[in-house]
């Protein structure tokens, strides 16, 4: 059982080592793709086991909980690991078309795999300090991907990214230290018991704010999101696709995990804070997106707006709301990765990403335009694409709780999202190229297959989720049920307690 949990985790690191040793030949990129494929298989095996047999857990190094490090996968972790490997494989294939030999020689594929390993670790760990370690692995690897190429804009973005993220990790670490001082444990299942038994509940509610700020900054919620639009438009498109799909979602995952498993003492207070955060994040994100003219900056602000919807589900905290948030999470990871990948192709074909300087995509590449429209419509929540269903669930959940204003805000934000994405559409696709230059697909050259295949595959996935939402809905319901009554999680970890 324990190897089922460890394979998704060790495969990226093994791939990173091999890909680095082979970085000077074309073998490196194939190793990266093969490793990602194996990781996808491992994640599928884990997902099937978890959905058949319930929560699985294992103790690393044979040291018992709560002293040793627990790896544990419930439905949420299994789904997140599966999403990581799906986007990981797509981006690994896309990178074959985008990353040039100079970047490969610096170890691009290797660092990319280490990033995937860090993300997987964060989803699988059952130990708060170990979660911090995986955050650091992610931060270092993503910094490497951000600065690779060494352009001044990249250094500028990377410095902002690293400084603000370091503040978040210091916040996280301080919170961990103080929480350990109060409860004497850092194993998440053990913390659940320790917090309920604690004689200082007020102090723990205050401590939970450390974690809210740290994870909130990682997730890019209002008002802590400024690092995201400052940096995500600078690196390679492959890197920004994996960042946008997964890095902020690790923050959301951590919030979901800690605020359903550990910090449940004063839900009235924490949920009120989260609700304000969620609404402001949605609104500010979409307004920011409307003010931008660079494709990746628009999409970056759209990430912020989407995070608002995810936090909204957690803040409402009803089973329906959490189901909606998880469904939104699944949909959003796939769609966001896809939009960033498409923007890379737009840049190659039209010669830039600034909407004022490009145009004419539709006449040159009508099929590619459809591949952009699918994730764009899905993101704005058009039926019957994948974004429609979670938004229905979230709006229904807020109406059930009598939160009319919140439901109205969510709908208005969706409308503004459509406006922002349709501006992007009409500028980049419909408008003739301002320099009267005819964009040409020939610029894609032999990389065409590697660039378009992952976009098409993710687009197909979006369509399938949209047309057949029932399986995803059932998965999301299971996740929500496990999060709201964590008995299974606790027994799975306690089962390996002495």
């Amino acid at each position: 059982m324990s190897w089922l949990l460890t394979f998704p985790l060790i495969l990226p690191f093994a791939t990173a080592v091999l890909a680095y040793l082979a970085r000077k030949s074309s073998a490196g990129r194939w190793i990266s793709v093969a490793g990602s494929l194996l990781a996808l298989v491992a994640a599928l095996a884990l997902f099937v086991t978890v959905s058949d047999e319930g929560v699985v857990s294992a103790q690393m190094g044979g040291w018992d909980a709560p002293y040793g490090i627990t790896l544990v996968a419930d439905m949420l972790s299994a789904v997140m690991v599966l999403l990581t490997t799906i986007t990981g494989l797509s981006v690994a294939i896309y990178a074959m078309g985008e990353i040039n030999p100079a970047q490969e020689k610096l170890g691009y594929h290797s660092i990319f795999q280490i990033l995937l390993g860090g993300i997987t670790g964060a989803f699988l760990t059952g130990d708060l300090f170990n979660l911090y370690v995986w955050f650091e692995v992610m931060l270092i690897a993503s910094f490497g991907l951000l600065i690779m190429g060494g352009k001044p804009t990249q250094i500028d973005g990377a410095v902002k990214y690293v400084t603000l993220n370091l503040i978040a990790t210091v916040m996280f670490l301080s919170g961990i230290g103080l929480l350990y001082g109060v409860t004497g444990t850092l194993n998440m299942a053990d913390l659940h018991d320790a917090v309920l038994a604690s004689d200082r509940p007020g102090l723990i509610v205050i401590l939970s704010m450390f974690f809210l700020i740290a994870f909130g900054m990682k997730a890019a919620v209002f008002p802590l999101f400024s690092w995201l639009p400052a940096s995500y438009h600078t690196p390679t498109f492959a890197a920004s696709a994996i960042f946008s799909a997964l890095l902020t979602k690790v923050g959301v995952y951590s919030l979901l995990r800690t605020f359903t498993l550990i910090f449940t003492l004063d839900p009235g207070f924490t949920n009120a804070v989260l609700l304000w955060v969620a609404v402001l994040t949605m609104v500010v994100g979409v307004i920011g997106a409307l003010a931008q003219t660079e494709i990746r900056r628009i999409l970056s602000f759209q990430i912020v707006s989407s995070i608002g919807f995810l936090i909204l589900g957690l803040a409402i905290h009803s089973p329906l709301a959490i189901t909606g948030a998880v469904f939104y999470l699944i949909h959003n990871v796939i769609v966001k990765a896809n939009l960033f990948l498409v923007s890379g192709v737009i840049a190659r074909v039209t010669g830039g990403t600034d909407l004022r300087l490009i145009g004419g995509m539709y006449r040159t590449a009508p099929l590619l335009s459809v591949l952009f429209l699918i994730p764009a419509f899905a993101l704005s929540g058009f039926p019957p694409l994948s974004g429609f269903w979670p938004k229905v669930l979230l709006v229904k959940a807020s109406l059930d709780q009598g939160m009319w204003v919140v439901a109205a805000v969510a709908l208005i934000v969706s409308l503004l999202t459509i406006l922002s994405l349709m501006t992007l559409w009409s500028e980049a696709f419909w408008k003739p190229h301002p320099e009267a230059r005819e964009p040409s697909l020939a610029t894609l050259g032999s990389d065409r297959l590697a660039l378009v295949l992952p976009i098409a595959a993710l687009g197909l996935l979006t369509l399938l989720i949209g047309v057949f939402p029932q399986p995803i809905l059932e998965i999301s319901e299971q996740v929500a049920a496990q999060l709201l009554s964590p008995d299974l999680y606790l027994t799975a970890v306690r089962g390996v307690l002495p």
């Binding site: 690191f13 093994a14 294992a58 190094g61 044979g62």
Partner: protein, 139 residues
């Protein structure tokens, strides 16, 4: 830097630091020490060398790119974790081999934990040297 004192001292310090770093790594299993601190001490030997002579000299003395050293270390640490797959135990469970063990004699213990420490040593040394060499060459 061109200083006779530093050059002469470096010639004596480099082997001492390298031996000391190995000592600290091996000592780490039961006492303070280990791969991390060993790797730091070992890297100072090459940093001294780079400051006293030149980064190019230090690079050729190292014989292998520091980045490569770090990733090989990561591979070794991973292997140390994977040894337990053969014995069907959890990842990173320590596996022990007692060389020449007999009745009443414990023998020489060799373990996957030691391999892990060596991996950490190489990761730290390679990482630090990659950073320091890059910074030195920039000036």
């Amino acid at each position: 830097m061109n200083s006779v004192i530093l050059n002469a001292a470096t010639r004596i310090l480099v082997p001492l630091l390298l031996v000391f770093s190995l000592f600290m790594t091996l000592r780490g299993h039961n006492d303070p020490g280990g791969g991390f601190i060993g790797g730091l001490i070992g890297s100072t030997a090459f940093i001294f060398y780079a400051i006293a002579f030149s980064t190019a000299e230090a690079r050729s003395a190292l014989r292998i790119e520091p980045e490569q050293l770090a990733i090989i270390g990561l591979g070794l640490a991973l292997l140390a974790g994977l040894v337990s797959i053969v014995f069907n135990e959890a990842l990173f469970t320590g596996q022990w081999l007692f060389l020449g063990a007999s009745e009443g004699e414990k023998g020489l213990p060799i373990s996957s934990v030691l391999l892990f420490d060596i991996g950490v040593y190489l990761v730290v040394m390679g990482g630090i040297l990659a950073l320091v060499f890059a910074l030195e060459e920039e000036v």
